[in-house]
């Protein structure tokens, strides 16, 4: 283990931390509508999702061969830049979680890396045409497709079952939701855990601890799978509330239609080689399902905030990644330690801030808003 330097060890730990935030950020994608309609109890839902994410991590052999899918020049990427990029991604994931905004973990990772490489190796290390092709186009197209599909499906589902007894219909669609939500979780595990495995494996290769073209060692697969599974099980309840309750009030036929749309969009695009964000696909599906039912209220304010978060994700993570990269570049190991400590402090601050108005398994369905500020009553002692 001579090859594992301080920096490489820090990169591995940071990559696993990112994987963990990826898990709890994305639980909502698969499970938010099932939790909102009561198809699954909150704790059961996150358990199923967590287990399927771990299973998915072990199933998929197609580990990401490049860190970024060609968005940055991988030959110029050093472990220090990967570390800086991961810090940017983690902090953005935590901030959007605090605000209850479903933003894309993949975009956060891409953004962090772009910022870090830009500062570390110059702007020619970033392939901007690939950014448009792999990030921008799917980000616009995939939620639209999922939304339109879910809209049509929801409309027809209500039309077909209009004259049947309501309890009977609700019960059946709830059962269907369990299957559709599980498929989304499995697909998520095979995709997202691979990214972290790819990052760790490529770091080990660049440090000389693994040969070129080496696959991920078992401990990498196991730790990445466990990190994302554990994150999923802990559940990003703030984001689950926004996706299940905030965008629109979901009934079980809508939940089924939204999940069916998300699953098919994810699978068909993976099949045809499109990179896309699970988060954006699922949000699009939920909005479409909201529009497909007559009299359903779609909260455009929440949807608008979510879209703004999507737009800001990449540049914001890039900014943090860039700042971190410049400190690491000039400060060496000391700079790395400083950035790691600073990131820990900010992450700790965000967790503390979330405690002021916590969202958990017991209150996730109580309201449709995620607030950061404490209620008036709780503010009085702080002001005094």
């Amino acid at each position: 283990m001579d090859h594992i330097t301080f920096l490489v060890a820090v990169v591995i730990v940071t990559a696993l931390a990112f994987d963990f935030t990826n898990g709890f950020h994305d639980t909502a994608n698969a499970m938010a509508t099932s939790i909102a309609t009561g198809a699954l109890k909150p704790r059961t839902a996150v358990l199923i999702s967590g287990v399927l994410n771990v299973v998915g991590a072990f199933l998929s052999t197609e580990v990401a061969k490049t860190i970024s899918g060609g968005i940055v020049d991988d030959a110029l990427v050093s472990p220090a830049m990967i570390f800086a990029g991961l810090v940017g991604a983690i902090l953005w994931n935590l901030l959007t979680w605090l605000l209850g905004l479903p933003s894309s973990s993949s975009h956060a990772l891409f953004g962090g890396l772009i910022g870090a490489v830009w500062v570390g190796a110059g702007s020619n290390g970033v392939h901007f045409d690939k950014v448009v092709e792999k990030v921008l186009v799917p980000a616009v197209a995939s939620p639209l497709v999922a939304g339109v599909a879910a809209l049509l499906a929801t409309y027809l589902a209500y039309k077909v079952t209009a004259r049947a007894r309501k309890e009977s219909v609700t019960k059946s669609f709830k059962a269907g939701q369990i299957a559709s939500a599980s498929l989304v979780s499995l697909a998520h595990g095979t995709n997202d855990a691979q990214k972290t495995m790819g990052v760790i494996t490529l770091t080990l290769i660049s440090a000389g601890a693994l040969g070129h073209d080496a696959g991920p060692p078992l401990w990498v697969i196991a730790s990445a799978g466990l990190a994302i599974g554990l994150g999923t099980y802990l559940g990003g309840w703030r984001i689950i509330r926004t996706m299940g309750k905030g965008l629109t009030d979901i009934q079980s036929p809508q939940g089924f239609a939204a999940e069916a749309a998300s699953t098919t969009v994810i699978l068909t695009s993976a099949h045809l080689g499109f990179a896309l964000s699970t988060t954006q696909v699922c949000s699009g599906g939920i909005l479409g399902a909201g529009l497909g039912r007559r009299l359903a209220e779609v909260r455009w304010g929440t949807a608008g905030r979510m879209v703004i978060a999507w737009l800001v994700t990449l540049p914001a993570a890039a900014l943090v990644g860039g700042v971190a990269a410049s400190v690491v570049k000039h400060g060496g190991d000391l700079g790395t330690a400083l950035i790691a400590l600073a990131a820990l402090a900010v992450a700790g601050g965000i967790v503390v801030a979330s405690r002021r108005n916590p969202v958990h398994a017991h209150n996730v369905n109580d309201t449709h808003q995620v607030t950061v500020r404490t209620t008036a009553a709780a503010d009085i002692p702080a002001a005094a």
Binding site: V145, A149, S168
Partner: protein, 77 residues
Amino acid sequence: MQLDWTALGEVAAVSTGVTVGVVVVFALGVLGLARFEEARTDVGGTHALGLAQAALCFVACAAVVAYGIYLIVPQFH
């Protein structure tokens, strides 16, 4: 930079078609099951057609789910 509009259109068409298809077939199954349950509780009779419709539709949906799992798991390819 070149965008593969054909592939993009394919994803859009296939996704929409499959989603609408699965959800409508599932809804027809739900309708059949509901008819069967109504006949049993209200009239005390049975609605064989409804039950058969439900069974057929749910089997069709299960087949699509199985194909989805096949697509997700690379070991099956």
